[in-house]
């Protein structure tokens, strides 16, 4: 079977997603910076599933390299999944623009640069799927993480536009909005158990939803309702509360 390209492959969600796709018979390109660190993980999937797994070096912030990154992939992927996420330090980002920029570039600009290239190719060949992992944090800005949230909001809007553009070419675009997920990124935070997903659950949700060509996926599912409520709070009220 053909390859799925996973961007930001070192994250816990990406790893779980990689295992999920390999389990269902897909071969994988795993793209990340310092990709040699993924050696043991590549071996893990190979032993588990006997699929072909190829690590590929990618620096999402080096926009000029993206075209050549994509060109070097011998067999072009069937679909692409971006699991890039950089939460950053909100406090620092408020006073130090370089941190704010890093958050925006990692979560948004870099993904746009790469997805533009891939979208052109998929559009031409009239097949493929594009999955972008955004966040519920992008649904409404909150003081605790609004720099990150704004970058994810931009990504959500980008994916929605891309879905619209590629509809006629039969290329499917899916936006994933995870709520709390127990990963390295959230380690040490006290998260409410009922609302917190394991990376494996998120991966399973992504696989199933992508196979069904879902447009927007909240995971866990109840986040859909949680965010409906949060979005429904009027701004005059919302601005005064801490959540």
């Amino acid at each position: 079977m053909s390859y799925v390209l996973i961007i930001g492959a070192k994250s816990d969600i990406a790893k779980a997603t990689a295992r999920e796709y390999a389990k269902h018979g897909y071969d994988l390109y795993l793209a990340a910076r310092n990709v040699s660190e993924l050696e043991e993980f590549v071996n893990d999937i190979t032993v588990r599933t006997q699929r072909t797994v190829k690590p590929v070096e990618l620096d999402i912030l080096n926009y000029e390299s993206h075209q050549s990154f994509y060109d070097q992939l011998g067999e072009k992927p069937l679909g692409v999944i971006s699991a890039i996420g950089y939460l950053g330090d909100q406090d620092k980002a408020q006073s130090d623009f370089s941190e704010a920029k890093l958050i925006m570039d990692s979560n948004y600009t870099g993904v746009v640069s790469l997805f533009n290239i891939i979208a052109d190719d998929f559009e031409k060949r009239r097949s493929g799927f594009i999955v972008g992992i955004s966040s519920v944090a992008g649904d409404r800005g909150r003081k605790s993480n609004y720099i990150y949230g704004s970058a994810k909001a931009a990504l959500t809007a980008y994916l929605s536009g891309l879905r619209n553009r590629l509809y006629d070419s039969r290329v499917h675009v899916m936006t994933v909005k995870p709520g709390f997920v127990a990963t390295k990124m959230t380690e040490g935070m006290e998260l409410p158990k009922k609302l917190t997903a394991q990376p494996e659950e998120v991966a399973e949700d992504i696989y199933k939803a992508q196979q069904k060509n879902k447009n927007v996926l909240y995971t866990k599912w109840m986040w859909h309702w949680v965010m409906l409520i949060i979005k429904a709070i009027p701004e005059w009220k919302f601005k005064g509360i801490s959540i």
């Binding site: 043991e40 993980f41 071996n43 893990d44 032993v47 588990r48 599933t49 380690e187």
Partner: protein
């Protein structure tokens, strides 16, 4: 962080230590005492609970598999369920598996778990070629049955008290079907149950469900399920969707009457004395895994499993006495599982000895621990022992009497300075 095991009792606050590599783990071990490795939290009691938890589960890489010998090399945090998902479709199964697949390989070694085929294949340690373990001084030791034998015997069944297992090489067994030919034998009393175990001894897998509320001459009536893998080449094993208990049931949901009703239905649905079924791996080996969080049916106070084993010569008399004591107490056990075990191994604290073992689930409630203390007396009287992996309350005295190699284990821990370094609530309670 707030932690508990499968029994949801006790709930404790612990410090949790995670490690990215051996260097970090070494540092954790050097800097802290009272450490205890924690896998998937599926032992029932307090054997993986303590002041300082070492979080092993994230270490879940598969490392190598040899198609010829069936030797699988994995990190200690890999779940048995993950092994099944990858290898049943390729015609391999675990040589030894307990009644849940949601445990880590490290935990399987530390509890030296056993399954329905104990009378044929023995404990989990039988399929372990070797493992690596980080012990007291942060040294990584590769350990097999041959070398160093003391560390192997202390670690297999040693409840995590010798160090942190990093990875293991285990042998899988070849199968040619995901289905099992199951024979169900319905018996009317303990005598018939014992006879049925002997009659079906040749089949590699067997276990009996006992109605422990049965009274007088019906005491010990059971459904014995025995079987072996089919040979039909059907191996398309997939992870099943599962039901989940979303919240704790009110603690009165399970009472004498509801358990009685369940037992009546369960036992009553089988009509013939001997019947045959074709069941799949999950139904046969892991019936309870199909229901997520099934521990919640016991309510928020949690539950415990009381599992003991009696030497074969004393099993009949002892079991009769124990079943009578339970029946008289009126405390229902939803699940009462009886099995005939094979020979004991050489590991210092492995649970199995040749004889009959009974496992009973009880919700934690007033009067329960008094009943279990009473059962302890009978177990001790008949030279039996208690299974640490399920235990949350046994006394030091009762525990010691059941395990003749206890002093060797204690001495070994002391000599290697493991006794202060690795401790759990359970190890402190029973003094190991």
């Amino acid at each position: 962080m707030s932690l508990m095991s499968w029994g949801m009792y006790p709930k404790i606050k612990s410090s949790v230590f995670s490690y990215d590599n051996e260097k970090v783990l070494k540092q954790i071990i050097e800097e802290h005492d009272e450490l205890i490795p924690y896998g998937n939290g599926r032992s029932y009691g307090d054997s993986a609970l303590g002041a300082n938890i070492v979080n092993v589960k994230p270490h879940d890489y598969f490392i190598d598999f040899n198609e010829k010998s069936g030797l699988l090399h994995v990190q200690a945090g890999v779940l048995l369920s993950e092994i099944l998902e990858s290898f049943v479709p390729r015609g391999w199964f675990l040589k030894v598996t307990p009644g849940t697949k949601f445990i880590t390989v490290g935990g399987a070694i530390a509890s030296d778990v056993h399954g329905k085929n104990h009378h044929v294949e023995g404990c989990f340690s039988e399929c372990v070629k070797e493992f690596t373990i980080m012990t007291t001084d942060g040294e990584v030791v590769t350990c097999s049955k041959e070398a160093p034998p003391e560390l192997f015997r202390a670690t297999c069944g040693g409840m995590g008290l010798t160090g942190v297992i990093l990875d293991a090489k285990i042998y899988l067994k070849k199968i040619n079907s995901k289905y099992i030919d199951q024979t169900t034998i319905k018996t009317n009393n303990l005598k018939e149950t014992f006879a049925a175990f002997e009659e079906y001894k040749a089949l590699p897998y067997s276990v009996a469900w006992i109605d422990c509320l049965a009274k007088s001459d019906e005491i010990g009536k059971c459904l014995l399920m025995a079987g072996d893998f089919k040979d039909d080449g059907k191996l398309d094993y997939k992870k099943k969707g599962k039901l989940s208990i979303p919240f704790n049931f009110p603690s009165f949901a399970l009472n004498n009457w509801s358990v009685r009703a369940f037992n009546w239905l369960y036992y009553g649905k089988v009509k013939e004395r001997v019947s045959k079924q074709k069941v799949d791996i999950d139904t046969f080996f892991y019936p309870l895994d199909a229901i997520g969080h099934w521990n919640r049916i016991y309510g928020k106070n949690g539950f415990t499993q009381y599992q003991f084993i009696l030497p074969k010569y004393a099993s009949y008399q002892g079991l009769e006495e124990i079943l009578k004591a339970i029946s008289d107490s009126g405390k229902g056990s939803f699940l009462a599982v009886l099995k005939l075990y094979g020979k004991a191994n050489e590991n210092y604290l492995s649970f199995p000895i040749e004889g009959y073992s009974l496992a009973l689930d009880f919700k934690i409630e007033k009067g329960l621990f008094e009943l279990l203390d009473r059962l302890d007396e009978i177990v001790v009287q008949y030279k039996g022992r208690i299974y640490l992996t399920k235990d949350v309350r046994v006394s030091k005295e009762t525990f010691e009497k059941g395990y003749p190699q206890i002093e060797i284990f204690r001495q070994y821990r002391k000599e290697n300075k493991m006794d202060t370094k690795f401790q759990s609530l359970q190890s402190k309670r029973v003094g190991i």
